[in-house]
């Protein structure tokens, strides 16, 4: 398996053996070395062997070793001959990021930051097995699964404008609750409005630097303003849905006489009954995740209001955008000068639609889609915008975050004898967390430097950096 460098930001593995297409990696000299050591590229080559894959199996600069598909991977499939893969979407279906900006400045909230962080930590359930204040009946949960963000706003969680600034307006319309298992319903019923554990977080930040003033202005971001960044997904509901279909599809692989290099790549033809059913169930999980983030933002707004004692108008909290980075979607893309409807899998990758794309809301028609890239809790997060180059090369996709560099075990070892809370405080970040090892496992050095990641996507032309956010407080599970 030879990795050939094409230019400073592109590498390729030529099509050999069972590969149906080549593999293409977007990265930089700095980032690519760390990935060479493990199984990541082998996984990408495995993806390139799946039936109906188009153009190339692609990796974004934050790629890392996952299971089945690598994390940070993009793959498009032909709708007639291609497959849909639960492993190609990931367990946390519609894991995603939501960004809101306020009218408040750092100086205004600094004296209240400890209180505000504590208020958020109290209001928002975090950690393993946490449950929310909502306990839904089966019938009500089915409404959530069909309607997504709209359900939340109709119940008073948030503003209609939030929906307008959400990818797909917070609802995949093909969702069908009848495609979902009872086990998934059981797990989902109590978890709406919860953050979860692992790398999920709510972060208060400040716009530290504006790289593209014109676009930043349209996104409502100017230097010094306080932001709220949320990272979470479909919780146990999505995990169970992925698990159910992986299991079923693994068992039917022999029937469909599909030979796969890794069982975690289990998939079904898009047009098959199993493929259609998975898509409808996945859409339910996507809608669950959007509803979850909608409720969480609402609860964050209330916490801000209570802790700071200011009116909603003074705070002016408005949603910039909400994106998903674990998803499969049917989209139109031009391949060899022909426009086709294909199924794009983004596993740890973000949609990056360019200016004037018909799926963008009017507000962002001229800027391209806002792309939200969370970093680690000590350094930075970024807001980017989609470009025509992404549309031409990567099925309108870009990176999704910093990408892990250390295993959890290695991170815990490195954290031994250190006070990470103190280290973060010295960097100006207040942290509240639930899990015993959360802070160690999630420490900044466990991740690649997100700045290098966004430089690589900008360098290759698949996104444009708009603004840099600096974290000042974080709550984690």
């Amino acid at each position: 398996m030879e990795l050939i460098q094409i230019d400073p930001y592109r590498w390729e593995i030529k099509k050999t053996g069972a590969m149906r297409v080549p593999a293409r990696i977007y990265s930089s000299e700095k980032l690519i070395e760390a990935v060479k050591k493990d199984e990541t590229f082998r996984q990408l080559v495995n993806v390139a062997q799946l039936p109906g894959i188009l153009t190339a199996a692609m990796a974004m600069p934050d790629i890392h070793w996952g299971y089945g598909f690598p994390i940070g991977g993009v793959a498009g499939f032909d709708c007639d001959d291609g497959v849909i893969s639960p492993g190609g979407v990931g367990y946390d279906i519609n894991c995603g990021v939501r960004l809101a900006v306020t009218n408040l400045t750092y100086e205004e909230i600094k004296p209240h930051l400890e209180n505000l962080t504590s208020a958020l930590y109290q209001k928002i359930p975090t950690g393993v097995g946490s449950t929310g204040q909502l306990k839904l009946s089966n019938a009500e949960l089915k409404k959530v699964l069909r309607q997504g963000s709209r359900w939340a706003v109709s119940k008073g969680y948030g503003e209609p404008e939030d929906i307008y600034h959400t990818e797909d307006q917070g609802c995949m319309t093909d969702a069908d609750p009848d495609a979902v298992s009872q086990k998934a319903m059981e797990r989902g019923r109590k978890q709406l409005g919860t953050l979860g554990s692992g790398n999920h977080f709510l972060e208060i930040g400040v716009v530290e630097k504006v790289h593209d003033p014109e676009t930043a202005d349209v996104f409502g971001l100017s230097k010094g303003l306080i932001t709220i960044l949320l990272h979470t997904g479909s919780r146990g509901f999505g995990h169970q849905t992925c698990d159910d279909f992986l299991s079923g599809m693994t068992r039917s692989l022999t029937i469909d006489s599909m030979e796969l290099p890794d069982r975690q790549l289990a998939c079904a033809k898009i047009q098959s009954s199993a493929g259609r059913q998975y898509y409808r169930a996945m859409a339910c999980a996507a809608n669950f995740a959007w509803t979850n983030r909608q409720i969480l933002l609402h609860n964050a707004r209330e916490s801000f209001q209570r802790a700071l004692g200011v009116s909603p108008r003074q705070m002016g909290i408005r949603q910039v955008y909400d994106i998903c980075h674990n998803i499969a979607k049917f989209e139109n893309h031009t391949i060899d000068n022909v426009s086709r409807r294909i199924c794009v899998h983004r596993k740890g990758a973000t949609r990056a639609f360019p200016p004037h794309h018909p799926d963008l809301c009017e507000d962002y028609r001229n800027t391209g889609q806002p792309i939200l890239i969370p970093g680690d809790m000590g350094r930075a997060s970024y807001v980017l915008a989609g470009t025509p180059q992404a549309m031409a090369e990567t099925f309108g996709s870009t990176c999704h975050g910093a990408g892990r560099m250390l295993s959890r075990k290695a991170a815990k070892k490195s954290a031994k004898g250190r006070s990470l809370e103190k280290e973060l405080a010295e960097k100006g970040v207040i942290a509240r967390w639930t899990g015993k090892f959360t802070l160690a496992e999630e420490m900044p050095e466990a991740y690649k430097d997100v700045t290098e990641v966004v430089k690589a996507v900008e360098g290759s032309g698949i996104s444009k950096i708009v603004a840099k956010l600096r974290p000042i407080a974080v709550i984690k599970g």
Partner: protein, 138 residues
């Protein structure tokens, strides 16, 4: 219980189990999984439940077995203290499970296992022993 090792995986967590027979292999894998979640010495195993799990082959049976047990935790908020396999016949397991309800005040969760993956999965019999390798989504 047979020995097991933790495997380092950038995003996830794995276990490698070695055992004298297939019963011990499946039981140890189950115990190893719950030992990542909680100090199982803290549990009393007050309730006993009988379960039956099937797979298409031995690796698939391992995944189905661990998934079913993990659902006790992430579906029903029950922590598994102990498992005893009554029978493994072809690709079907019949077992008894002893478990407690999760009490956040008493039970400290060490790490969350969110799913059992097929990635890198192996279950094999060598000349002298049985071996399994399983990677979890954490």
């Amino acid at each position: 219980m047979a020995p097991y090792e933790l495997i380092d995986h950038t995003a996830d967590l794995g276990i490698a189990v070695t055992a004298e027979d297939i019963y011990e292999l499946f039981e140890t894998a189950a115990h190893a999984m719950f030992e990542q979640i909680i100090d199982t010495g803290m549990l009393s195993g007050e309730k006993k439940t009988a379960i039956t799990v099937t797979g298409i082959d031995q690796p698939d049976l391992m995944i189905s077995w661990l998934r079913e047990l993990l659902f006790f935790w992430n579906g029903r908020e029950r922590l598994v203290k102990r498992v005893h396999i009554e029978q493994i016949k072809d690709t079907q397991i019949t077992a008894n499970i002893w478990h407690d309800p999760f009490d956040p005040a008493r039970h400290e969760i060490l790490s969350d296992i969110k799913a059992v993956t097929y990635h890198g999965l192996s279950v094999e019999q060598t000349e002298h022993e049985w071996r399994a390798l399983i990677i979890f989504d954490v």
